[in-house]
């Protein structure tokens, strides 16, 4: 079945030209205005009132108050001459406002000469690439990075709590020795709703980490390469780029607002020098391209430095423009906007292993898109009943198989998983395999169905297993066995007796995510009270850790936490009734190759690292 999306472009939202620069009075370099024409949909709707331009919300870019030991007083932002937090409101930011690469403070050495920088081959293509995403074909030579600078007195512009390498403690090997690598985000008790992180995702190499928040903003962190010269810089994640991905829209037909909250971000496998990611809110998926520019052409014949046309009478000789190095700029631009494909709210997207297609799933349908085509998509799953009143089950998550480009799985609110093969039929309503565990009659209650609803499904890296998260457990399924999962881990079984209260306060509908580590030996998921849990599949040991400022000292290994349910109570245990259900860890991500995890706790982003067991087993 072919479902043609309207070719009208985005409903409501305006696709902004992300390459337009924000004002930066002290900018020393200037690129001629890009000739890229913004695609405005006819009848573009104004932005809904109340939305905050991304620059006005520090969010996880906010500097911490200088109470942290060793932090020098906040230095003004190099670009604007003003402290980020104290900056007067800027004019509304365009989507994709360029963010300069994070700078270190005084004491920084000048950038090495051009010879040591990356080869300029790619840059020319970058400026001319308007058409189809041909991308930069030339491979990048690995760039020698500038030597690290002294960090001891670096004022904290962006909130960074950097930890010196921990003492090699002797932890329980199976519990790992996780310690806080860095913490981004404001410490205020009053959390602006727009700053709540709604998704976290590492890219395929782990070099980049993207976060999306409820305000529609995406922040990308890049890992600094470790250097032996300065053990302080231990591969921490610095802000690489930040841009406004989605704006709130208003659907006039339904009189409803379409939230700008980023539901999911998925990275595309990197095929050239640029990075690309898909970000989606409830209705619209956008493909963003992130490129670097560190050279600019100088010496045009017809245009002067500011880009204005020269008076031809002043041109006396011809010159060949040369490429001069410039401060590194990270540019983000929306390459594709996949709109009007979904009637219901998109809950997941997944890039296919063929790197050409991807799928997006809403509550009742799954669409298959081609990355280069925005005006049509194929509907591959449709579980909408003829009579809406017969509706008893919705799609909750979906994912493509990591290796087989014809296989995908989707989970439902009734706790079942369906593996579909796209070769079988154009419309994959009939599943190839149905994974369902029979209900345990002894645990039956009115809430049985709700707690069996699968909130997240993830294939293992090997492609052999699937990981599902329902309200109280995580389960590992073998693709070859449909009858029941091969492993079940209790995340917070102590909540089983509290289900009615959790139903009353809606917590029972919280959707937790789950994650595999790179070697598929450990699985991780979040819980309440800012706890998150890890289960080692080999040793069958599990650990509960907490992501909070108080319990994450820079040097210390995270102490395992315990929730006591009556019975013997140890000193640091927390009783079930004292759990804070407003502090929930819904979004977690694990580095694809190393023991580094990113935990989103409301508006704060924690990055933990297990330095002792840095290799995965």
């Amino acid at each position: 079945r072919l479902a043609e999306a309207a070719n009208a472009g985005p409903v409501g939202g305006v696709e902004r030209d992300a390459s337009v620069r924000g004002d930066s009075p002290s900018a020393s370099t200037h690129t001629p205005p890009r000739a890229r024409a913004p695609r405005l949909s006819p009848g573009a709707l104004p932005r809904a009132p109340g939305s905050t331009p991304c620059d006005q919300r520090p969010g996880i870019l906010a500097p911490r108050p200088p109470s942290a030991p060793g932090a020098a007083p906040r230095a003004p932002h190099p670009r604007s001459g003003r402290s980020l937090l104290g900056a007067p409101p800027r004019p509304p930011a365009r989507a994709g406002s360029r963010a300069r690469r994070r700078r270190r403070r005084s004491g920084r050495r000048a950038r090495p000469p051009a010879a040591a920088r990356r080869t300029p081959v790619a840059v020319a293509a970058c400026g001319a690439a308007h058409g189809p995403a041909a991308g930069l074909a030339s491979p990048r030579a690995p760039a020698p990075r500038p030597p690290p600078r002294a960090r001891a007195h670096a004022p904290l512009l962006f909130c960074q709590l950097t930890a010196p390498p921990p003492r090699p403690a002797a932890p329980a090997a199976d519990q790992g020795s996780w310690c806080l690598c860095q913490l981004n985000g404001a410490a205020d008790l009053e959390v602006s709703e727009a700053d709540i992180i709604s998704t976290v995702e590492f890219n395929h190499t782990g070099e980049l980490l993207a976060t999306g928040d409820k305000g529609g903003r995406v922040v990308i962190f890049q890992r600094e390469p470790e250097s032996k010269n300065a053990p302080h810089s231990q591969g921490e994640y610095d802000v690489y780029s930040t841009f406004q991905s989605h704006e709130p829209e208003f659907d006039y037909l339904k009189s409803l607002e379409i939230e700008e909250k980023i539901n999911k971000i998925k990275w595309l496998p990197q095929q050239n020098a640029a990075h690309s990611l898909l970000s989606t809110n409830d209705k619209t998926i956008k493909l963003w391209k992130i490129t670097e520019r560190d050279k600019r052409p100088e010496g045009y014949n017809l245009k002067d430095e500011e880009g204005k046309l020269k008076d031809l009478s002043t041109v006396t000789s011809l010159q060949v423009p040369v490429l001069k190095p410039m401060d590194l700029m990270v540019e983000v631009s929306p390459r594709r906007i996949f709109a009007n494909g979904h009637t219901y709210h998109i809950n997941s997207i997944s890039v296919n292993s063929d790197c050409e297609t991807y799928m997006s799933a809403d509550d009742l349908r799954i669409n298959l898109w081609h990355l280069a085509i925005t005006d049509r998509s194929f509907n591959i799953v449709d579980i909408k009943p003829a009579n809406m009143e017969d509706l008893t089950e919705v799609i909750t998550a979906s994912e493509f198989h990591p290796h087989h480009c014809n296989l995908f799985v989707y989970s439902s609110s009734k706790g079942s998983l369906r593996l579909c093969d796209m070769r079988a039929a154009a419309l994959c309503d009939k599943h190839s395999k149905l994974f369902e565990e029979p209900e345990d009659p002894s645990n039956r209650s009115f809430f049985s169905e709700i707690i069996s609803s699968v909130s997240d499904v993830k294939f293992s890296h090997s492609g052999r297993y699937m990981l599902t998260r329902d309200y109280l457990t995580v389960k590992v399924w073998d693709l070859n066995m449909e009858a029941r999962p091969i492993e079940t881990y209790q995340v917070h079984d102590y909540l089983r007796s509290k289900l009615c209260s959790l139903y009353e306060n809606d917590c029972i509908f919280d959707k937790f995510e789950c994650a595999w580590n790179g070697s598929d030996s450990v699985i991780m998921t979040g819980a309440y009270n800012n706890f998150f849990r890890m289960f080692d599949r080999n040793t069958k040991r599990d650990v509960t850790l907490e992501a909070s400022r108080e319990s994450s000292k820079p040097r210390a290994v995270l102490k395992p936490r315990r929730v006591c349910v009556g019975g013997k109570r140890r000193r640091d245990d927390i009783s079930v009734d004292s759990l804070d259900f407003t502090k929930k860890i819904l979004h977690t991500a694990w580095h694809p190759a190393e023991n580094i995890i990113a935990i989103a706790a409301t508006n704060n982003l924690y990055i933990f690292q297990d330095k002792v067991n840095s290799e995965m087993h």
Binding site: L256, T396, C500, T582
Partner: protein
């Protein structure tokens, strides 16, 4: 929302089980809990954010819970139809009152013991159940839906599955259940009527709650089965909305 240190206890677990009276108490407390759960679910179903489209998954899960409860109540035989006198609809502009959650009208009616109660059937409900307001008129059961079909079945009949309820709803008010899971085709401005049409106060049974979705429901006796009447009604709804 939970605050730190706030203890919530399951009411059922706290009861002392002593004697036959205690047994009855358990039973009625189970019914109580179940009823309060039902009421809570209906409130959740209908109080949705006006600004943003409600979460479909959540709505479906709550509706399924309501369905389960109603099925169980049907099996228990505690699902009764309303008598004609009770059929007078409460004014449509009455808002939901929180007394719904504190109701325990079944006690007054002398609830029949529900068979086969397990311990863990219904988890600890809202612990601060208000004391019974005996002033509440005891029987307003599942008025709306049932009465719509009462001409067809005997008044005492109450063995209806939720499907039939919804079906009935649909024939009467085609847009009714649809409003709950409407797609882009049916506009959402019916929600206005949902919110204002919520019948509060005296004991809205589940159907009554669902009934609230339809703005102008004719009286029970006028639930004529004639096609013409239905068509008129349909048109009336469409035109009104």
């Amino acid at each position: 929302m939970f605050t730190r240190g706030l203890k919530r206890k399951c009411v059922g677990h706290e009861e002392d089980m002593e004697g036959a009276l205690a047994g009855l108490k358990t039973v009625s407390s189970y019914s109580l809990q179940r009823q309060s759960l039902l009421d809570m679910s209906l409130v959740k179903l209908q109080l949705c954010h006006m600004l943003v489209e409600p979460n479909l998954c959540r709505s479906v899960l709550i509706a399924n819970t309501v369905r389960q409860i109603q099925e169980e109540m049907t099996q228990d035989g505690t699902w009764r139809s309303v008598t004609p006198q009770e059929a007078g609809r409460a004014p449509l502009d009455r808002l939901v009152s929180t007394e719904i959650l504190c109701r325990s009208a079944w006690e007054q009616e002398g609830a029949r013991p529900a068979p086969g109660l397990g311990d863990g059937h219904v988890q600890g409900p809202v612990s601060d159940l208000c004391p019974v307001t005996s002033a509440q008129a005891p029987r307003h059961p599942q008025s709306g839906i049932w009465e719509l079909d009462s001409p067809r079945e005997d008044r005492g009949g109450f063995h209806k599955s939720l499907d039939q309820i919804f079906e009935t709803l649909e024939t009467k008010n085609p847009g009714c259940m649809e409003e709950l899971f409407s797609d882009v085709d049916s506009p959402y401005y019916d929600l206005d009527t949902v919110l204002t049409g919520m019948v509060g106060g005296a004991r809205p049974g589940p159907c009554e709650g669902l009934e609230g979705l339809a703005p102008a429901t004719p009286g029970p006796s006028s639930s004529c089965k004639s096609d013409l009447g239905e068509l008129d009604h349909v048109v009336e709804i469409l035109v009104e909305t």
